[in-house]
Amino acid sequence: MAAVSSMSKMYGLCFRAVRQTAGLKAYRLLQRRGFRVTVLQLQQTFDSSLEKPQFPGASAEFVDQLEFIQPNVISGIPVYRVMDRQGNIINPSQDPQLSKETVLNFYQKMTMLNTMDRILYESQRQGRISFYMTNYGEEGTHIGSAAALDPNDLVFGQYREAGVLMYRGFPLDHFMAQCYANADDLGKGRQMPVHYGSKDLNFVTISSPLATQIPQAAGAAYAVKRENTNRAVICYFGEGAASEGDAHAGFNFSATLECPLIFFCRNNGYAISTPTNEQYRGDGIAARGPGYGMLSIRVDGNDVFAVYNATKEARRRAVAENQPFLIEAMTYRIGHHSTSDDSSAYRSVDEVNYWDKQDHPISRLRHYMTARGWWSEDDERSWRKQSRKTVMEAFERAERRLKPNPELLFTDVYQEMIPSLNKQRESLWRHVQQYKEHYPLDLYEK
């Protein structure tokens, strides 16, 4: 508490909102729907007889002691959680008290994702797909946040948010189709595996460059605000991507332009091999929020209810007050960065095992469920069998499917086909006709 109050002196009004207590009436008065009138926009009358700073750039008091503000990284922003590591509710008032059906759905989506990850990782190892990225350990961040949103809310992701899509109902066949780049791929076979997208599910297609989605999410939120349809936008990114200039740009724009946007940072400890102490020196990502004038919170990302509660409240207020929220979900990347990575090169097996065995979002939720008699050993056994079977069936279907017609190499560069590209297309076809035995035409649709 002492740490929080000293930090609040540093950051002034903004930081107090991090504590989710009710005694913030004065601050609440400033919030109203529509376009807030920020203090700085009004040109105050200048009065040099007052011993108060008159600078347009900052409102503060004078001080006559030379003192540098000490960044507080030892006891920084606290981590909000609802369950302990054994899945017991700590403070009953924070239990979202979701229905059995909802909680079972959370569990089944997380485990289905886990099963799909195992099978697709293995399929890359066997040379069946070219590349894959697992979500091990971060399933709680996906399902908890996705469940707190409206289905119409627009999602911008980075690449480790497949659970959000899964929660929204993206079929296994479509996940597989994208990874196999077969003729059923909604993306028409153009991108590497795990670059999912779905217009119907309001999930913007993933792109490889990191953090580019962050200012885009701010723009989309601004447009959505003008539509006046009570939609929000959520933007996922990792703690590594948060170092990019685009992240700074996105945070600043969303705050100055008053966008209904949730920034969701998955702080999983590593950006490929780079640990957090080489990524930043401050108190993680949450501590940056107040610097932008943004309400911020740090949550236990492996506690699906904590993620759910924080996202739900952030969404409600983002839409009601037209301002961005920053949620830093602390978690751990149990898997390798991707199939091109072997993380034993830069971290110990013991460290990974700790998170896998002692603080896993799936186990914690299972304990919550079993404590209420909602899930038994038999349920677990039969669900594992069933989910594996479902995934395998989708996998086999995807394996058999042909790749898309190579015509799709040339379309969608522009909305319309342009003459020069058409010529290039024709020249490829002439060439392939002549040298057809050197091209794998049998694998592709005609």
């Binding site: 580019t212 723009g219 447009a223 959505v224 003008r226 600043n252 100055t256 909305q415 003459p419």
Partner: protein, 386 residues
């Protein structure tokens, strides 16, 4: 210097009793060694003469407008007809550093014409997001020289959005505008013509107008076009180019080069300010060499109108391409390469490129740097005598 120039120009029309330049000239007169216009301090006249196009009759009533006013008119039309359209960038709220957005915030509201923080990667990234969400986004980059922080967003994101998503998502609603080209004193960072960097990026459209009438029609086409467009505005023409421009909206098609005058001996290709240089070169060539030039304004750099240029070269057998940007890797090299592929046997002489040198854009050396009419004239002479 620009401010002084603006003061001077405004002074000729104002009703102020105090002549704006008088205090300065008085101070100069006090010094024994200074007269108000010494030889070394005389500012160089512009390297071109703007020639207005005839008044268009097919688009309704017209009004005298300079280039920045024709841009304002296009933006005004857009905000009026498209309720989703928003204009944003640095300093656009008060009217913009080149006055292109004057009056629009008052007329349409601060939620539609607004300043952003000083961050080009943010401006374009934000613009992409607005476009992806289905609204019309018109982003202003204050000078084309500052577009590079946004290069990743433009090339890796905007240009590829439709392709990589299998046409589920796109940013066709995005248009980026930026002042472009030499201005007499802009030096390294207020004179650049970066079209060649973007010409190498499939998925983008790059458009450069030569005049107010062209600017309004082409900008409206870019805004309507369902692909992300970059619209470069020749800043030296903002005030210098004045035409009778239609008040109502109209579009000029993209990717269609315009033949400004027909000729039989040499094809001259350029875009933006350089068109006015080439028009003068064409007259000089006719007068002094008896050479008939066909002048083509490319207008759209990407995708460019290969057919019109090649058809012309087939006729004339000679091609000269001219731009301010440095010659190596400049867009003239793309045109030259394609034309020699398509029209090799028709060429009477090597294709000539009269461009900026491979240096950063200099300040005091601008008169030597730019591809002026004498350099173009000399290049024509060489082609004729090849």
């Amino acid at each position: 210097m620009a401010a002084a120039a603006r003061l001077f120009l405004r002074g000729t029309n104002s009703k102020l009793s105090i002549a704006p330049g008088s205090l300065g000239t008085t101070l100069l007169k006090l010094s024994p060694n200074c007269s108000s216009r010494t030889k070394t301090q005389r500012r160089h006249a512009a390297h071109f003469t703007f020639q207005p196009d005839p008044v268009p009759s097919q688009y309704g009533p017209t009004q005298k407008m300079n280039l920045f006013q024709s841009i304002t008119s296009a933006l005004d039309n857009t905000l009026a007809s498209d309720p989703t359209a928003v204009i944003f960038g640095e300093d656009v709220a008060f009217g913009g550093v080149f006055r292109c957005t004057v009056g629009l915030r008052d007329k349409y509201g601060k939620d539609r014409v607004f300043n952003t923080p000083l961050c080009e990667q943010g401006i374009v990234g934000f613009g992409i997001g607005v476009a992806v969400a289905g609204a019309t986004a018109i982003a202003e980059i204050q000078f084309a020289d500052y577009i590079f922080p946004a290069f990743d967003q433009i090339v890796n994101e905007a240009a590829k959005y439709r392709y990589r998503s299998g046409n589920m998502f796109d940013c066709g609603n995005l248009t980026i505008r930026a002042p472009w080209g030499c201005v007499g004193h802009g030096s390294l960072y207020h004179s650049q013509s970066p079209e060649a960097f973007f010409a190498h990026c499939p998925g983008l459209k790059v458009v450069i107008p030569r005049s107010p009438i062209q600017a309004k029609g082409l900008l409206l086409s870019c805004i309507a076009d369902k692909n992300p467009c970059i619209f470069f505005e020749p800043k030296i023409l903002y005030r210098a180019a004045v035409e009778q421009v239609p008040e109502d909206p109209y579009t000029i098609p993209l990717s269609q080069a315009e033949i400004l005058q027909e000729g039989s001996d040499v094809t001259l290709v350029a875009w933006g300010t350089q068109i006015h240089v080439l028009k003068e070169v064409a007259s000089m060539a006719q007068e002094k060499l008896g050479v008939s030039c066909e002048v083509i304004d490319l207008q759209t750099i990407l995708p460019w109108d290969i057919e019109t240029v090649c058809k012309s070269v087939v006729k004339t057998g000679r091609l000269l391409i001219s731009h301010e940007a440095p010659v190596t890797g400049g867009f003239a090299s793309e045109i030259s390469s394609t034309v020699q592929e398509e029209c090799f046997l028709n060429l009477e002489a090597p294709i000539s490129r009269v461009c900026g040198y491979d240096t950063p854009f200099p300040h005091i050396f601008e008169p030597f740097y730019i591809p002026d009419k004498w350099k173009c004239f000399e290049a024509i002479k060489k082609m004729i005598n090849y």
